[in-house]
């Protein structure tokens, strides 16, 4: 059995907590907005619960979990939940991702990547 979930790290040794605020990327704001719509905080759709979000975040492979940022985990988790709930299929998702990739870079993705580099430099 799994004695302790990888995410369940309360009390384990860790580095300092950075208390400073930071700006969010546009895509992160979009993921947040999407989540608010899907759980029905905004609107009436109620396509999922926050508990399903947590379940699928906690199910991420530990190495991926550690690499990902907060909203990286959210977007993977809510996509997984939409597949589990039958809102989208894996096939639809794969085709859409391929189509978006084929479309090439947008000004949005270029901007996000640039600020990612900026963050790493700090």
């Amino acid at each position: 059995m799994i004695e302790r979930g990888h995410h369940d790290m309360g009390g384990l040794p860790a580095g300092r907590v950075r208390r400073s605020e930071h700006a969010y990327e546009d895509w992160e704001l979009r993921v947040d907005a999407l989540m608010m719509l899907l759980i029905g905080v905004v609107g009436e759709s109620r396509r999922m619960t926050v508990d399903e979000l947590r379940k699928n975040v906690e199910a991420l492979p530990p190495a991926d979990y550690d690499k990902m940022g907060y909203y990286d985990r959210w977007v993977i988790s809510l996509t997984q939940t939409m597949i589990q709930r039958g809102v989208i299929t894996t096939d639809e998702l794969a085709r859409k991702l391929a189509a978006v990739q084929k479309r090439g870079q947008t000004s949005f993705s270029r901007r996000s990547r640039k600020s990612e580099r900026g963050q790493k430099g700090k």
Binding site: E3, D8, D51
Partner: protein, 95 residues
């Protein structure tokens, strides 16, 4: 539809030592520790069931339980009166 609260404010309770699969809200570090019920927060659908696309009913009473920090953390160096409060669902509690 809600479960009847089995514990009252001031009761000494123990958090179950369990390691199930799925999404649970009881942190690992507090499992097996004892504290005192500080208040009853109400009753809420069971998040473990909500995480699996079920309705989580009957709603589970949720307790705010007060633990002594030095009971929870080995070698705790803070004040002897320091406490930690956590909200724990009834099904994670035993007398």
């Amino acid at each position: 539809m809600r479960s009847v609260p089995l514990y009252a404010v001031g009761d000494r309770v123990r958090v179950r030592k369990a390691a199930p699969l799925g999404h649970v809200r009881t942190p690992y570090y507090i499992r097996g520790h004892s504290g005192v019920v500080e208040r009853i927060c109400g009753a809420f659908p069971n998040p473990e069931e909500l995480a699996q696309q079920r309705d989580g009913l009957p709603a589970q009473p949720l307790y705010r339980v007060r633990f002594r920090q030095r009971d929870v953390w080995p070698g705790y160096r803070g004040g002897a009166a320091d406490v930690l409060e956590l909200e724990i669902f009834q099904h994670w509690i035993e007398p």
